[in-house]
Assembly symmetry: C2
Homo-oligomer: 310 residues x 2
């Protein structure tokens, strides 16, 4: 297949490029490096079936090559410090960026695959979150540039499916970690692991009782690959339902990386969700998928990559 991936130099995007190249597909990567990393493009630059286009997909996707089978829209700043630094760009890649991808897919008769997010559930009143939950998002808060952009991206994807017949997929990605995350992405696993490796105390927001679930990247990529093969157009959660309080996560990091970790508490950020955990029954039934990699195992898989980064 010929697959165009926006955000190919991002964390998730770069793992998709790797997977599809390994499976024998042709991949066109697109990124503007607003949050992606040139090093993630360099990994594949010499590969005969990889092409890279440096472009901001919010202003158009300048692809003029052979017929595409899939357009996969994974471009967006995704961590709170990044999207809050680029609120307008984040809103645009959710709206214009998604629409440009849908138009390209429509022109090629290709499938369109949207990377949405558990952030569409906001600070949820239902726990765990099934795909049928409509969410609790502050439309004017400091996180809304990301959350509302992704909700809009889902709405326009469904509109192109319903009114223009585009063969669409939507996933809602829950917290995911693995090699090639930006060390400065500001998310808790990255923060904890880098703080531990530097021998610094771990920074916990509030009392550390808020919970998150953490999915290893390989589980996510497997779920994406399976969903491409199934005709299903509504959103599908992909995440690991094992739930950890931040103080429990700190203990696992201590086990894997270093002894005698200290913690310091700083105030909770605005609109920070208190808990988030996927209901993955739909993915289980639809795709025969469930996450295989425990937090302990995933951190062990991550560990050698991080030490190389230091």
């Amino acid at each position: 297949m010929r697959i165009l991936i926006t955000g190919s130099a991002g964390f998730v995007g770069s793992h998709l490029v790797e997977r599809f190249l390994n499976e024998g597909h042709t991949v066109i990567g697109v990124d503007n490096y607003i949050s992606g990393q040139v090093s993630n493009t360099d990994l594949f630059r010499e590969h005969p079936r990889f092409t890279f286009i440096e472009a901001d997909v919010s202003h158009g996707i300048p692809y003029t090559g052979d017929s595409l089978d899939w357009v996969m829209h994974f471009a967006s700043p995704a961590s709170p410090p990044h999207y809050q630094q680029f609120p307008v760009e984040t809103l645009m890649v959710g709206a214009q960026g998604t629409q440009n991808g849908l138009e390209l897919a429509h022109a090629h008769g290709a499938g369109f695959f949207l990377a949405s997010t558990s952030e569409v559930y906001g600070d949820p009143h239902v726990h765990p979150q099934p795909e049928t939950y409509w969410g609790n998002v502050n439309p004017i808060g400091v996180r809304s540039c990301y959350d509302e952009a992704k909700r809009y991206a889902e709405a326009i994807t469904m509109a192109y499916h319903r009114s223009r017949g585009v063969n669409t997929r939507i996933i809602r990605i829950f917290n995911t970690y693995g090699p090639r995350m930006r060390p400065d992405d500001g998310r808790v696993i990255t923060n904890f692991v880098h703080q531990a490796l530097r021998g610094e105390p771990l920074t916990v927001y509030g009392d550390g009782s808020q919970t998150r679930s953490f999915q290893y990247i390989d589980d996510l990529v497997e779920g994406i690959s399976r969903l491409m093969m199934v005709e299903y157009h509504e959103p599908v959660n992909l995440g690991n339902p094992d739930e950890f309080m931040m103080i429990e996560l700190a203990k696992v990091v201590e086990d894997v990386f270093v002894n005698n970790i200290q913690m310091v508490s700083i105030p909770l950020p605005l609109d920070d969700p208190k808990q988030r955990k996927p209901d993955v029954e739909l993915a289980r039934k639809l795709l025969g998928w469930s996450p295989n990699i425990s937090l302990q195992k995933g951190l062990n898989l991550l560990s050698p990559h991080l030490k190389n980064d230091q």
Copy 2:
């Protein structure tokens, strides 16, 4: 002042044009007539302080005149049959249209005024709805092309205010009626009144126990005018909190228009909100505003306009 109004040929837009011209301002109207009516432009075409630009604001606002004081973004299909007929256009006028208005306001150092909607509350779990309620919207439902577009419009308006210093206003408009609504707009007051005038039975969705509140256009315009004069950037509800079940509304229509009205019931549309009622305490405190025109009075004000339309 020099005021540019997108959606100037729409129902609310045309009343704003009238108000501002009457107050001595200069008005530039912009509309593409996707749901606006040429007759609403014709009303002002000869006015020396009115200019009209036919354009789709989602593709840019081709204004090159003197410095603007306000950009008021009121363009959008707003009734369910219209926006469901034009889902992509509705999404675009909420995203690209809003952003084009914000950019124009930014370039002119003008204020930007967003017409948002009670639809951002979706099918609310909190009743009545204060501005602090985050809403209950289905991001992938058939109404999401409108609801999510408006939530996105609020988010990008706040982003331009926070990150680029644009002097913004946001109102959330609850059901509003008055002269110059499209006879085919599909909303309940229009449907009931036109059915009554034609001697047809009134069409009630479900058992008619769902509630709505109805604001007469003059109250809305007064609220808009007052908010322009106050420095406040978060959303403000403008609506009439008097709540009516559909079967009660039918009785008022009977009183005003015709005796012995029949009703027929048809199934509820998808995701139709069961109730919607504004909390208007904020507007009361901030603007000294509250709606003055009762449903009975408003329908009497509307009546001569409708008979002229027949």
